[in-house]
Symmetry: C2
Subunit: 340 residues, 2 copies
DNA sequence: CTCTGGCACTCGACTGTAGCGAGTGCCAGT
DNA sequence: ACTGGCACTCGCTACAGTCGAGTGCCAGAG
């Protein structure tokens, strides 16, 4: 395990060159392009050690070296300093996001921005309902037996659902229902509403029990079970950039994975205390994504985290740059959310 | 232009074989696989004519023939009878769509269903707001200077938008506003609301003029300008099926085109009286899609058309099957919309 | 006039061989 | 511990040769 500083420098150089050129890198080219201060032969010896330890490998004998997933991991963990964005980039982000009129708009702009800046596939989760608080519940009578339930969360997210009532309900009763529901639920975090929703049924006037029961069913369904998580995606065209060298020739599995909301949620939705997460190749739990890397992070107003965002690209990607971009975009979106 | 029946039969056979095998088809193979009742030599002569007329071509000398866009066009127009779906398929469609709880759900299910049945990229436009009627307008007070405007269309589509008022408004006034707006606009087709919205400002009480002005601005924006058209997409992974033989090796342009909502709308949104439209290769106005074909149609409750749907695939696709599927799915969705 | 069988021809796909060169591993020397 | 040198490996490219599917054309039969 003895990896002295120079061996690490060699690994860093290999990663940087390979990411830039997409071609296996040999000892001679390395000493030419980086000031390592030693001869190719020495580098070769270091390479042999690095290969033995599993950080790099040769596609075939008599070819240069290529980093392995493990090599990238070491690079990310110990060898790369996050490169700060240029002021121009920061301003671009700010300006682009500032134009948003709407939560939907914010999410759309964010995902496009991420895709464009990183030149990769971007994924943004809508602010999770479970992590939001109820700002207001609205009941709109459509007919005597139909209500439109509109849930407005403090993150600005709005969800609606049609409710089919078991029996006709008078307009005054709708007002009644609305008041009761709002009194009990406004300000509560959505993930904690289920018990309260149960209690609602008992508390309301007897002749409204039926209506309230279906209403609360739909409420629970909307808030907790279904739909709950929405996702925006952009930049899939970037997958086809690397001339099929990345992703070992077939985009099929990647595209398939990206079509599954569940998969995407798994990718970026598991938000932990740690600010930012990088999953490299094999580290991905999803089989279809074994040839890809994912950089993801949570975002939200202030320290609260309401959702995740991230990008997906070939394992051979510019980690420092991507990490910096994802982090910066997430921070700006968080500020934007906090303002409103 | 003398294309007798046999030449047409040859063309049909070529198209069918090529679609099935993805390989240039030669004269010998043709007579073996189809009962044409003539010798290869005769077929060759017919092929020479077909080639001269531009319906087929040779990738290189001494290779079989491949249909041109023009050949596919002729095939679609005159040589293919729409093959009816099997009862099993019909039932599958019905069952799958029947489970939908929601307009959103209907659209999502539809697009996935289309992608799955045709094994191609599916696109479904949400019921266009411009073509819907207003069922209800709701104003939800968020704070004294903020309203949430919710527009509910008769197609079940719901659109919401935050309104920042120029000055605080009392709760009673909100009720007033809501009543006025609903009285004037409910039942009106959205594309015809603009003049009425203008009139609203004049009619309302003086102390509400300011509020009504911003409100109507947002209303117009929401209904007409922005956002208005939404699109669902599925099955992009199917693009990567044909092993890069379709789409001349690069998915890039296709994926790029699919990312642009505007492009997608152009693809399937131009709904005309004609029931179903097939655009083959070069016939596509969008440059990036010159290597693809699009089968699209309008849908809606009864004879009204509220949106478009369709699929996109390689020019080498099973036109009869795809056409039948798209038509059937559109019809079922129409019925579903009519029921509610 | 139409169809057919025959024949020469074309040209892409595949195979085998050879030379080149990037890159390596090893070793002896400083 | 580093370096220069050297033999070796092996993928890549070019080139020649063969094979065969498929064609176009033509003369002859119906």
């Amino acid at each position: 395990m003895g990896l002295d500083d120079r061996k690490l420098a060699v690994l860093r150089a290999i990663v940087e060159d390979y990411v830039a050129t997409q071609e296996p890198v040999g000892s001679k080219a390395l000493v030419e392009r980086h000031q390592l201060g030693v001869s190719p032969a020495t580098v070769r010896n270091d390479m042999a050690v690095l290969e033995e330890e599993g950080y790099i490998r040769q596609p075939h004998t008599s070819a240069g070296r290529v980093p392995t997933d493990r090599g990238y991991r070491l690079f990310v963990d110990r060898l790369s300093r996050v490169k700060p964005l240029s002021p121009a980039e920061r301003r671009a982000i700010e300006r682009f996001l500032a134009g948003a009129v709407d939560l939907d708009d914010v999410v759309h702009r964010t995902v496009r921005l991420l895709a464009q800046l990183t030149r990769q596939v971007a994924v943004v989760q809508y602010p999770s309902l479970a992590r939001s608080r109820v700002r207001h519940l609205e009941l709109v009578p459509i007919s005597t037996t139909r209500l439109m339930l509109v849930v407005i969360a403090d993150t600005g997210r709005v969800e609606q659902r049609l409710v089919e009532l078991p029996a006709p309900v008078h307009a005054d009763d709708v007002i009644d229902l609305r008041r009761t529901v709002n009194e009990k639920l406004v300000g509560i975090q959505l993930s904690e509403t289920p018990p309260l929703v149960q209690a609602l049924i008992d508390e309301c006037a007897t002749h409204l029990r039926g209506a309230m029961t279906t209403l609360s069913t739909v409420l629970l369904e909307t808030l907790v079970e279904r739909h709950e998580e929405r996702i925006a995606l952009a930049g899939t065209a970037n997958l086809a950039r690397g001339g099929l060298l990345d992703f070992q020739g077939s985009l099929r599995p990647i595209l398939e994975a990206l079509e599954e909301e569940v998969v995407l949620l798994k990718l970026i939705g598991e938000v932990e205390p740690s600010t930012l997460r990088v999953r490299i190749g094999d580290e991905n739990e999803i089989d279809n994504l074994r040839a890809a890397s994912v950089v993801s992070t949570g975002y939200g107003p202030g320290a609260v985290i309401v959702g995740g965002m991230g990008v997906l690209g070939p394992t051979r990607m510019d980690y420092p740059g991507t990490i910096a971009t994802v982090r910066a975009v997430a921070r700006y979106v968080g500020e934007l959310l906090a303002q409103n």
